[in-house]
C-alpha cells in the first residue's frame, strides 16, 4: 500500500525569467514553446492576457477563429493521450515491436477485444494527425501555431477553409463516436477497480472553457469550483501559489499571481520538485476534463482514475460538437486584426481552461516591455507539491493509500498518474510503514 507519495517535476527552464524585457507581442509565440502537445493553449492565454492589459475586446468572429484553433488542439491531445499514453497500460500492443514491449501481465481484455483496440491505436495515429491538420488550416502550423493573436487570429476563414475543416471534423467525430468511446467503455468494464482508486483531493476547478460568447452564450463550462459537495463561482482573488516543497527560495513562500515570481534554488532543504503548489482558498484543486465535465453537469459518475479517463474521452466528443457550432458561426473573409499599441505600463490576466485544465498567464508591462510574467499551468495544479500545511497535491493524494498488488510491477501507480494527463516527467516514491521501499519512476 502506498503510504506516501511525492510527485517530482524534474525539468526546469525558467520561462518566467526569460520573458522579462521582451516585447509583449512576442509572448504569444514564445510561451507556446513551454509545451509541444498543448502549445496552442499558451498562445491563447497569452493573447487573452495581452487583450486584458491593452484593454482590447476581441470581436466575436476573432474569438471563433481562435477558439476553433484551440478546439483542434483539444482533439489532438485527447486522442493521443488516450491511445498513445493510456491504452498501452491496459491493452497489449504487438509484442514483436520493441516500443511496445512490456513485462507486467495485468492485461485483462480477452484477446479479440484486446486486438481490436490495439488496431485502433494504429488507426488513431492518422486521426490525431488530422486534428493538427485542421488546426493548421487556421493556425498555419502545428505544433507552435502562428494564427492565434490579439483580436483572435491573423488568418481569415474562407469558404474553402471552412469546408475543409468541416470534412476533417466529421471524420474525427466518427472515429470518436464509433471507436474511441466504445474502447474507453470496454477498458472501464474490465478494470472496474480503477473507479475506486486515484480519487485525489476531490476538489474540482475550472477557469471556464468555450464560454461567455455574446450570441452563443456558454457552450461548455463557466468559471466554477466544486468543493464539499457544492458548486460555486470562481473567485480569482483566492488563487495563490505556494513553494514550501519546491526548489525555489522562500521569499515569500506563498503569493498571489501578480505578487511575486519565485527564484530557483536547487539546494533548498526539504524541497523535492520544480513544480509549485497552486491553491484555491488554500486548498489543492484538481483541474482537467473531469473537472469541466463535472462542473457543467455532463459527468457526475465519480472522481477516480477511470472516471478521469472516461471524462476525457467524453470531452473529446463534446468538443467536436462545440467546433461544429463555431464553424457554423464563421463569416468568411472577416479580418480580426488591427494595429495594436503597447502601452508604457499595464497589467493583464489571461485565464482559461485548456486540454489539461486551468491555465493562467499574468503580465505586467513597464517601459513598453514585459516586466513580469507569471504562468500557472494545469499540470502544476494536478501534480502540485505539498504546501506549507503539508496538504498533498491532487496527484500525490491520488496515489496515497493505493494498494499495489506487485511491487516489482506497480502498474497501478502509472495508470493513476497518467489519468491526470501530466505534462512533465515525474517520480513516485512508495513508502511502507515509514521506510522507503523503493522509488518508482513513472514517466508519462
Amino acid at each position: 500500500m502506498v503510504a506516501d507519495a511525492k510527485t517530482e517535476g524534474l525539468l526546469f527552464r525558467g520561462f518566467e525569467k526569460m520573458l522579462r524585457g521582451r516585447s509583449p507581442f512576442d509572448a504569444v509565440y514564445f510561451t507556446q514553446r513551454i509545451c509541444g502537445i498543448c502549445s496552442t493553449a499558451h498562445s491563447v492565454a497569452s493573447s487573452l492576457a495581452l487583450e486584458s492589459a491593452l484593454g482590447i475586446i476581441a470581436p466575436q468572429q476573432g474569438r471563433y477563429l481562435r477558439d476553433i484553433i484551440h478546439g483542434c488542439e483539444f482533439l489532438q491531445n485527447h486522442i493521443r493521450h488516450f491511445y498513445q499514453y493510456t491504452i498501452p497500460d491496459f491493452v497489449k500492443l504487438p509484442q514483436g515491436n520493441p516500443l511496445y514491449e512490456t513485462v507486467h501481465n495485468d492485461f485483462r481484455l480477452p484477446k479479440a477485444k484486446n486486438d481490436i483496440i490495439a488496431q485502433h491505436y494504429f488507426d488513431s495515429l492518422e486521426i490525431s494527425c488530422s486534428a493538427h491538420e485542421m488546426l493548421a488550416v487556421l493556425g498555419g502550423k502545428a505544433p507552435h501555431n502562428h494564427g492565434v493573436f490579439i483580436g483572435g487570429a491573423t488568418s481569415h476563414a474562407t469558404p474553402e477553409a471552412i469546408s475543409r475543416m468541416r470534412s476533417i471534423l466529421q471524420n474525427i467525430r466518427q472515429f470518436i463516436c464509433t471507436k474511441m468511446v466504445p474502447d474507453a467503455c470496454t477498458v472501464a468494464e474490465y478494470y472496474k477497480d480503477y473507479f475506486e482508486i486515484g480519487r485525489g483531493c476531490g476538489n474540482l476547478l475550472s477557469f471556464g472553457c468555450f464560454n461567455d460568447y455574446e450570441r452563443l452564450g456558454t457552450l461548455y463550462v463557466d468559471p466554477l469550483v466544486y468543493s464539499d459537495g457544492a458548486v460555486s463561482g470562481l473567485d480569482p482573488s483566492e488563487i495563490t501559489e505556494n513553494i514550501a516543497s519546491s526548489w525555489y527560495a522562500d521569499s515569500p513562500a506563498t503569493y498571489t499571481p501578480f505578487q511575486a515570481i519565485a527564484e530557483p534554488d536547487i539546494k533548498k532543504g526539504g524541497a523535492y520538485s520544480w513544480i509549485k503548489a497552486p491553491r484555491y482558498k488554500g486548498l489543492p484543486f484538481e483541474v482537467g476534463p473531469l473537472a469541466r465535465m463535472w462542473l457543467c453537469g455532463g459527468y457526475r459518475n465519480g472522481i477516480s482514475a477511470m472516471d478521469r479517463n472516461l471524462a476525457r474521452v467524453m470531452e473529446a466528443k463534446k468538443v467536436t460538437e462545440i467546433l461544429l457550432v463555431l464553424l457554423n458561426s464563421l463569416i468568411p473573409g472577416f479580418c480580426s486584426q488591427e494595429v495594436y499599441q503597447i502601452p508604457q505600463s499595464a497589467l493583464g490576466a489571461g485565464m482559461l481552461d485548456t486540454t489539461r485544465g486551468a491555465l493562467g498567464h499574468w503580465i505586467k508591462i513597464d517601459g513598453g516591455v514585459i516586466a513580469f510574467y507569471q504562468i500557472i499551468t494545469p499540470s502544476a495544479w494536478n501534480l502540485s507539491t505539498r504546501s506549507e500545511d503539508h496538504l498533498p497535491g491532487p496527484g500525490e493524494a491520488a496515489l496515497i493509500g493505493t494498494a499495489v498488488r506487485d511491487t516489482d510491477h506497480p502498474v497501478e501507480l502509472g495508470r493513476i498518474i497518467r489519468s491526470f494527463d501530466p505534462c512533465v516527467s515525474c517520480a513516485t516514491h512508495i513508502y511502507s510503514k515509514g521506510s522507503l521501499i523503493r522509488t518508482v519512476q513513472v514517466m508519462p
Binding site: L10, L11, F12, R13, G14, M18, G21, R22, S23, D26, Y29, F30, R33, I34, C35, G36, I37, S39, R80, Q84, Y85, P98, L99, Y100, E101, T102, V103, L125, E126, C129, E133, L135, A136, L138, G139, G140, K141, A142, P143, H144, H146, G147, F149, T154, S155, H156, I266, W274, C335, S336, Q337, Y340, G414, S425, T439, V440, Q441, V442, M443, P444
Partner: protein
C-alpha cells in the same frame, strides 16, 4: 555541391522525403540494408519535435516504427515505464544505434535541471545522457532548434545554462533546426542516412536536402516585395517585410513543403516568419511582431 542542390526543381524537393523513405523502407523489407536501431531522447525542451513527428504524413510515424527502424527508446511513447524503461535505454546502447535528440542540454548545477530518469540509484541528467549515448552512436541527429543550437531553452538569461548538444560532443552532429523540426526533414534525413550514410551538410551541419533555399527566394508573396507592396499589420495578404518577417534570412523549404500534410504555413496564415529554424532563435530573431520596421 551547394549549386547542385539549390538548382534542383522545387517539385523534386517536395517529393524528396517520401521518395527517400519508401526507398529505404523497401530496402529494409528486402533485407538489402539492416533495420537499424533508433534511440530518441527528449532532453531540455518542450517535446514538440516528437509531436511534430507524429504529425508526419507520407512519410509518417507508423512507417517509421513498423517499416524503417526499431525504435528502442522514446520516453513518451514506449509501453515500459520507470526502471524497466531505463534498462531498455542502457541495454540499447550496447549495440549499434542511431541517436535522435530533441531538447537542449541543461548544464547548471551538474545538469540537475533536467533529469530523464534514474539508473542504479543515480539521477540521469540530460548532460549525462548525451555524454553516455552520444559518442557510441553511429549517427547523432539533433532534432529541433533547442538540440541544434540551444533554442528557446537557452533564451536569455538562460536560467538552466542550456546548450545545443554539439557543445558536449566531440563527434559530428547532423543538425535539423526548426521549432519544431518538420517531420519530413527528420524522416527524409534518417532515410537518406540509413541508405547512403551521412548526407551533404552545409557549413552549419544542416543537410542541404532541406536547408538550402532562403524562404524569401521562394516565397509566394515575393512579387509584392518586388513591387514594394507591404502589409501594415498581420492579417493582410501582402508582403510582411515591414512587419519584421524573417523569411529573408531563414533557410528552410517551408513555402513549398508547408506544414501538417501541406495544409498551410505561417506566412500563408498572414503572420510573418519568426526564423524558428535559424541559429540564434529566439533572441536574435526578436521582436517577432512589429508594426512598420522602417
Amino acid at each position: 555541391m551547394n549549386q547542385e542542390n539549390s538548382s534542383c526543381s522545387f517539385l523534386m524537393k517536395l517529393e524528396t522525403a517520401s521518395m527517400l523513405f519508401h526507398r529505404a523502407a523497401e530496402a529494409v523489407r528486402q533485407k538489402r540494408i539492416p533495420k537499424r536501431n533508433l534511440i530518441w531522447l527528449e532532453l531540455t525542451g518542450c517535446a514538440g519535435n516528437i509531436i511534430s513527428l507524429l504529425d508526419g504524413a507520407n512519410p509518417d510515424f507508423k512507417g517509421l516504427v513498423l517499416r524503417l527502424v526499431n525504435l528502442l527508446y522514446e520516453n513518451s511513447l514506449m509501453a515500459a515505464e520507470g526502471g524497466k524503461a531505463m534498462e531498455k535505454l542502457f541495454s540499447a546502447a550496447n549495440g549499434d544505434y542511431i541517436l535522435a535528440v530533441e531538447g537542449a542540454v541543461s548544464t547548471k548545477d551538474g545538469g540537475l535541471y533536467t533529469v530523464i530518469g534514474r539508473w542504479k540509484g543515480q539521477p540521469i541528467t540530460a548532460a549525462r545522457a548525451i555524454q553516455e549515448f552520444g559518442p557510441k552512436a553511429s549517427y547523432v541527429i539533433s532534432v529541433g532548434t533547442c538540440a541544434s543550437d540551444g533554442g528557446v531553452s537557452a533564451a536569455s538569461p538562460n536560467p538552466g545554462e542550456c546548450v545545443g548538444i554539439q557543445s558536449l560532443l566531440e563527434r559530428k552532429v547532423i543538425k535539423l533546426p526548426g521549432c519544431p523540426c518538420n517531420p519530413d526533414w527528420f524522416l527524409g534525413t534518417l532515410a537518406y542516412t540509413v541508405l547512403y550514410g551521412e548526407p551533404k551538410l552545409d557549413g552549419r551541419q544542416r543537410p542541404l536536402l532541406f536547408y538550402s533555399t532562403l524562404i524569401h527566394d521562394i516565397c509566394p508573396r515575393r512579387p509584392y516585395f518586388d513591387q514594394g507592396i507591404f502589409a501594415s499589420k498581420p492579417g493582410e495578404k501582402t508582403c510582411m517585410f515591414k512587419l519584421g518577417c524573417r523569411g529573408p534570412v531563414t533557410r528552410t523549404d517551408c513555402p513549398i513543403r508547408k506544414w501538417n500534410n501541406r495544409v498551410n504555413w505561417p506566412i500563408g496564415d498572414n503572420s510573418p516568419c519568426i526564423g524558428c529554424a535559424m541559429f540564434g532563435f529566439p533572441d536574435k530573431m526578436e521582436p517577432f511582431i512589429r508594426y512598420d520596421v522602417t
